[in-house]
Symmetry: D2
Subunit: 279 residues, 4 copies
Amino acid sequence: MCRWLAYSGSPVLLEDLLYKPQNSLVVQSLHSRLGAEETNGDGFGVGWYGDPDTPGVFHSIEPAWNDRNLRDLAGHITSGNVFSHIRASTGSPVQQTNCHPFRHGRWLFMHNGYLAGFRTVKRDLALAIDPSLFGEIEGSTDTEVLFHLALTFGLEDDPPAAVARAVGLIEETGRRHGIEFPVQMTVATTDGSTTWAFRYSSEGRSRSLFHSADVTTLQQQYPDNALLHQLAADAHLVVSEPLGDLRGAWREVSESTCVTVRDGAETLTAFVPVAPALV
Amino acid sequence: MCRWLAYSGSPVLLEDLLYKPQNSLVVQSLHSRLGAEETNGDGFGVGWYGDPDTPGVFHSIEPAWNDRNLRDLAGHITSGNVFSHIRASTGSPVQQTNCHPFRHGRWLFMHNGYLAGFRTVKRDLALAIDPSLFGEIEGSTDTEVLFHLALTFGLEDDPPAAVARAVGLIEETGRRHGIEFPVQMTVATTDGSTTWAFRYSSEGRSRSLFHSADVTTLQQQYPDNALLHQLAADAHLVVSEPLGDLRGAWREVSESTCVTVRDGAETLTAFVPVAPALV
Amino acid sequence: MCRWLAYSGSPVLLEDLLYKPQNSLVVQSLHSRLGAEETNGDGFGVGWYGDPDTPGVFHSIEPAWNDRNLRDLAGHITSGNVFSHIRASTGSPVQQTNCHPFRHGRWLFMHNGYLAGFRTVKRDLALAIDPSLFGEIEGSTDTEVLFHLALTFGLEDDPPAAVARAVGLIEETGRRHGIEFPVQMTVATTDGSTTWAFRYSSEGRSRSLFHSADVTTLQQQYPDNALLHQLAADAHLVVSEPLGDLRGAWREVSESTCVTVRDGAETLTAFVPVAPALV
Amino acid sequence: MCRWLAYSGSPVLLEDLLYKPQNSLVVQSLHSRLGAEETNGDGFGVGWYGDPDTPGVFHSIEPAWNDRNLRDLAGHITSGNVFSHIRASTGSPVQQTNCHPFRHGRWLFMHNGYLAGFRTVKRDLALAIDPSLFGEIEGSTDTEVLFHLALTFGLEDDPPAAVARAVGLIEETGRRHGIEFPVQMTVATTDGSTTWAFRYSSEGRSRSLFHSADVTTLQQQYPDNALLHQLAADAHLVVSEPLGDLRGAWREVSESTCVTVRDGAETLTAFVPVAPALV
């Protein structure tokens, strides 16, 4: 459906993340290797953290591969925390308010996958969103609803718990409407300091997700790789698909897993949805 | 906020409606005379009826004044029932799904004005929309919610009654939230045969609305006016502001009035919102 | 690089041409089978002839596959002469003035391929354009230059001769600049009555081009094919690649050939560039 | 026609330049006070210098007033040398390649005004452009031609002399074609260190141009003005119209003048076109 990339570490030029790798996100916009769709041309987005409290977001409804603004901005913006997403719409309109990452205060959120039967469950899910958050919704994607459910359930305090409750609610709601596998997702969210990434699907056959191996080890392994040696030791990437063919550089994230990247270190924990009844 | 035009009568070239008049809608996009805003450059839309069951709709997020596609389409499309709208956003995003006219089956709907405090009342209003219609909403305007409330209350059977109930509900909901004047609107809707236009505001100071005088009389009055003589005797226009300075050509629609145009004849009736309690 | 379709015959709904076929042009925008590029997402265009003297043109910089305006217009516009083109840019900007078909008066022109080393030869070619036509150029594609060279050499009087001279000039100019194979093209042009399509490349390895077999024969061959039986006996299509898998429906146009469709009949003639010295 | 702003001085947040002033450039996009057109809604552009050798450029075909990307980028980009431009097209298409500022290597260039009868003189002017620069032209504005003429005549070595020769050539060419007043311009160009701004028209009635008074003096004069006290002592602005009503803050640039801002100091010199014969 889509492809995304989450970077955290020492500040890098966006160009180095989005254009330089062999199988960069911009390359994936035209020719994704592992995506459900090969082409991800229904808009894109970049979110990055700088000096201000709130992250910057740039959204476009044009394909990433030929976007000149993206190329220029990527050549001039440096950040230590970057989210980027290319979209293959599954039906909802191609408009900036449907482009990821979504933002709420200091938080960014992006998603690859879908909520099955979204049109059917949309109203029930919308009602479960905190009334004070309801007015914030501007687009028409399932992702924006998922994000606001997670916010409703405390994303800003405990992201894994909030996402678990949001997914639990969506699964219960979906099943009540006869949907066998309500959730298909790889999701990333960040407050600018810590990044959480989730791989999960009701069916147990989730979209691909990878995280980068330890950079220091890689640098020793590949002493001549210039790109690697540009990366700081604290660099971490979570991506829909590997950005290149370097052996050992990418590890698949297991099903039903949450990856947490904080202070240059990664933690993997099991991700289990929490049904509403159990809350 | 916006400006619009509703035409019904013998088929005309869209160009004659949208470009030829001295104060045409395209002119108004850059320099409206009577609008709350002089510039209406936040996108536009055209809806027209042809052979298919459903009307065609063309939406654009660019200003109308320099849009080459609009000029070309207007030069090639002929229709006997045309809605056109230019937008001045009051805050909601400039995207095609926020452009008027909105469509549901054979129906078109467009609006100039606003629902006051929309962010505050949006959730309550959304909940009042028929669940089977809820999933259809794709944009984020107050107008799309107003349209779906009217559909919920039977727009397809009795438009004046349905709009009266929708407005009544919005007023009651708004007042419950402390909003003094919840509705400001001139609205037009059509099923392709009959057109209904409404001028109303809770405050009793509604946006401007005019309808065209009888074309036959005008033709006698102005024997040399080529544009007039192109129009068929059955032509009726309802517009946010006069398309020119011809004396006698335009009559203001009174406050709290519904104009119905059917089979080449116009009827004016009082428009009174119906509060939910009274239904 | 691109894909295109030229239809002439009894009036058809654009939707039947652009959406209904199994391998329609809209399908090709996402997944071309025979194109140099699989994705043709850098804008598109449609040109069609109706009542006015000049054909209508609709250009968009967004991919065709999710464009809602295209779908609506295609569902409402009927024409007996239609050009449509989906673009995969080879470097020039994605902007409406670079979208095909190009128009000059009653004429349309579209192209798949490229002029090799265009940046190098652009100035020399631009100087060869008739000064009275020079000011008309609005975009930055090689195709617009090729079109204006053909106009310079009499496209409106004798299209095959004019295109032969334009190609001859481009080849001579290119070779002077050390370009081995200056022209790669399948081109179509029409005045609304006759359509001329060319398949040619300096290298002798041109982009794919097909024309439709005789519709009457096909209808007899496939008595149950509804789509075929909708087409009038005079329908002719020239396309970058077959619109479906029907055996016998599509014949490849040979290298260095001009297909002329006039009054429901097709003529194939050899296409040979004419070098400037020989004029 | 258009409005622009050129800033040089200590690094500032773009937001402070483009949004904060009472009559900011974004305000002017909707309601210019002194422009030939009140509305400047046909796209905009921002160019800024950061760490890379080449300035960044962001162009959009949408009006500036509601552009969310511009707002976000302005809130995150800081630069000591900023060009920004809002466009009111005088006929050429609304496309990114027609948006100012234009860029060549380290150089930016922007323009308010027009070359009279551009369609007539375009070919002669294009031929005068250095052949090695000709292939760079991507849009269809008079400004891009003016810029490339200035580059041809040595803009990178001596901007005032190069602009004088470009203007001289355009005037001579125009007059040969019977154009009385060929040039109307306020122009700014920069290499990222020095900024040159020109006010000139063949007619001697040029579009408005202002430069900022000495900031230190202003700060003493207005001890309570927060915005002023944010500006560094070395801040210089050249603008199409004052950004506010502060008395003494803005001085009109005289007719036929070049303003040079270098190392925090301003020089005013006479600007006199140089006719080609005299070179």
